[in-house]
Amino acid sequence: MSAAPSPLPEDIKLRLSIRSDIGRAQSELTGLRTLILELLGEDRGEPFALACSEAVNNAILHAHRGNAALTVEVEVKASAARVDVSVCDVGPPFDLGGRIAAQADTPYAELDTDMLPESGLGLFLIKQGSDETHYERIGDRNCLVLIRYRGR
């Protein structure tokens, strides 16, 4: 049995500014995962924490191309009903929302080992681990909001 989500104040906000260094970013993502598990419990929180990690890693590797001078801005909002995590980068415009929506139900439908994909799983995991995602271009920023409802 997984741990029950901890009681929440009405609204919690956390802001993180994560430098686009894929190695160093992981320690901050460890902290983000811990917070999400506290907010949502393991069953609902673990896939969502993975989705958020994938969103940040995508921003670092693809939008910022690992340029450590750039930062990915992460904001966590929590209410009694849901947890919202926004991930914003300053990469070029990209139809992230469309790409997430187009993800297949399984990336490993193929049973022939030689044909298995080794990359490109991040968007699939963002879709699977979130109840909703919203993409918006705001000024020079791409912002992806991942939403997980509590107790669905």
């Binding site: 890693n57 080992t113 991040g122």
Partner: protein, 117 residues
């Protein structure tokens, strides 16, 4: 990221010492295990007992190693924890990638001999 190697006859078990197999360590992990395969390892157990979290980069590294060892050998997982098992289920790679509860169980399944002296 370090790997602890245990030789069990024709089988080797590689235990990852970190708690995360993520985008920060996936390349080093793939290279380290790949070196063992290049050196002739054909029956490999990846002991993930310490790994609490794995992302798509970690999974991609394991898939690459599975493809690399191909039909000439085996690459199996041992000791996977709940978050890692969940990832394997979500992606349905669990239909392809063999998992065992423990390294000993995996070693028996692969027909390992006694540990090297």
């Amino acid at each position: 990221m370090n790997l602890e190697k245990k030789v069990l006859g024709e089988v080797i078990a590689l235990r990852m010492d970190g708690t995360r197999l993520d985008a920060g360590v996936a390349v080093a992990f793939k290279e380290s295990v790949g070196t063992e395969i290049s050196n002739g390892a054909r029956h490999v157990i990846l002991d993930l007992g310490a790994v609490e979290f794995m992302d798509s980069s970690g999974l991609g590294a394991i898939v690459a190693l599975l493809k690399r060892i191909g039909r000439d050998g085996d690459l199996v997982l041992a000791g996977t924890r709940p978050a890692v098992r969940k990832l394997l289920q979500i992606t349905r790679i669990d239909r392809i990638l063999t998992q065992h509860a423990t390294v000993d169980e995996a070693a028996r399944a692969l027909g390992a001999g006694p540990p090297a002296a």
